[in-house]
């Protein structure tokens, strides 16, 4: 069917815009410029510095793969990677289970649901500096919870949590988890609210107990959110920095060192910028790996 152009009608706005293809870029320019200067350029410089012995001052000497050779022969580097892996495993379990438990219990009640949700979320909005300080006080080896309980006949918690190489990493993870798990409650609860109520009815009619309901209705219902959080935890566990830096700074004897703190101290305390960027690149490699998992899962049609 032929369409006869009707003269006299106002032409739609769209074609007029096409004459200025640069216009959206005008609006995007500030964002792109900021990004280019603050993130892209230094990130690319990192790749270059990783092959030099730069100290931050003066000229950088190209050293080929020397930084990477040194890194792969360095026990501290492996310790840090091992701790990042431990951290990942811990955070894939503890906060996820606590988050699921909290959200599930909240979904069963109506009165007080908002109040509990708020209380769980509070530590998440408090600065890491303050949270770290709060737990430094509570877990203080001289007058904290350990000695306090020991005086009252419970001696088995009288431990220098941050000062022992076999507990330091776990103590920091405990504090970080304390501030983090409530965030997962909020995400999981929102996802649980979106699960079709009829599915629960159906399960009830078939005689499902609460555990069956959780396992066969709730968990599959929130799967996209669950997978999303697990992936984010994996990405983020390789980038962890704040709480470790504040509570132990990787110590004692580098027992709680992770790639983040190792990069930071290598760059700013040892002033070995070249070597530090090589470690940072390795860190980025891991997070890129997890991000591509994310993209692949999406392509496969998982609603992540």
């Amino acid at each position: 069917m032929a369409v006869t152009p009707v003269s006299g009608l106002r032409r739609p706005a769209q074609p007029r815009r096409r004459r200025f293809p640069w216009r959206p870029w005008l609006f995007l320019a500030p964002l792109l410029l900021l990004n280019l200067v603050v993130i892209v350029t230094p990130s690319l410089l990192s790749i270059r510095y990783a092959f030099t012995d730069w100290t931050g001052i003066g000229a950088a000497q190209y050293v080929g793969l020397a930084n990477f050779q040194e890194m792969f022969g360095d026990r501290v580097f492996y310790r840090a990677i091992g701790n990042n892996v431990r951290w990942t495993v811990l955070f894939l379990i503890a906060p996820v289970l606590m988050g699921l438990l909290g959200a599930y219990l909240l979904s069963t009640i109506r009165r007080g649901q908002m109040l509990f949700r708020t209380l769980y979320f509070i530590p998440y909005v408090i600065a890491s500096v303050v949270n770290a300080y709060i737990w430094k006080l509570i877990l203080n080896p001289v007058f904290g919870i350990g000695p306090w309980l020991a005086e009252r006949g419970i001696p088995w918690l009288d431990i220098r949590f941050f000062g022992r190489s076999d507990t330091s990493l776990y103590a920091v993870a405990f504090v970080d988890n304390w501030h983090f798990w409530g965030f997962l409650v909020v995400l999981y609860l929102a996802a649980m609210h979106a699960v079709d109520a009829e599915l629960y009815e159906a399960a009830r009619i078939e005689g499902a107990n609460p555990w069956h309901e959780f396992w066969h209705v709730t968990l599959p219902g929130i799967r996209p959110t669950l997978v999303f959080t697990l992936l984010m935890i994996m990405i983020w566990s390789f980038l962890v920095f704040d709480y470790i830096y504040l509570l132990t700074n990787g110590g004692p004897a580098q027992s709680s060192e992770v790639l983040g703190t190792l990069t930071y101290s290598t760059a700013f305390y040892s002033l070995r910028v070249g070597y530090a960027t090589a470690i940072a690149l390795t860190m980025t490699f891991f997070s890129a790996l997890f991000i591509s998992m994310f993209v692949v899962l999406r392509r496969l049609g998982w609603e992540v």
Binding site: N35, Y49, Y133, M283
Partner: protein, 277 residues
Amino acid sequence: MFRRRRTASLIPNYILLGGLAIFSVIPIVLLVLNSLKTTVEIQENPFGLPTAARLSNYVDAWVQGQFSTTISNTLFLTSGTIFLVVVVGGLAAFALARFRFSGANALSFYLLVGTSVPALLFIVPLYFMWAQLDLINSLPGLIIVYAALYSPFATYLLRSFLVSIPMDFEEAARIDGANDLQVLTRVILPLAWPGFLTVVLVVGLGVWNEFLFANTFLQDPALKPISTSLLAFQTRYQRDWGLTSAASVMMILPVLLLFLSLQRQFIEGLARGGLKG
């Protein structure tokens, strides 16, 4: 909307929920209690009520911690970043929501990747770049960094708000002769303000609490924000648990008040902002 059960069978659930709430909140309550004790009292009685509320801790912490300086530094950083992020993110979101152009998808993808670049990858070269540009020990210098970190998030969030505004309003304004900028300020802003509020809250919270970049890029004591001065305060008066507790309460009080009054916006915004923190 959910399953209905008899209240009696929910008692164990309430007990567990209460236990979790105690776990979350008790450490903060302890902080407040300890902020009213002397250090000696904290060491003798870290988990009990103070014998007498020592409010002078707050005055001492304010003076010794130079809070009038650190608070104004933090406020300057926060408001400067919010302003830049809202402008930069608002403009970019407008372009992404309202123009069809080649490269839009690639740009969205780039922003997603760009926000996932670990801070520790670029912080080292950025530090030395900023040193050459004389932007170390400069609050505006740090604001530029923060703005770059938060604008992609703001762009995403605002775009989703802008997309939901019907084109009709905009077209009506255009027929009346409004240009792009007038459409943005007169039509879009008044309709999309909840999105902007969320951006303001999330970015404000992020900058107020930020530690890594502030600690690295500001060394001059006169420029320290609260987050890093608290740390300096701790080492300088290593034994003064009372004052540090009072300083901590002063740092988190504005955040808690704002969070409790606007928690829906906070939670929604932070849930969309990913897991950074």
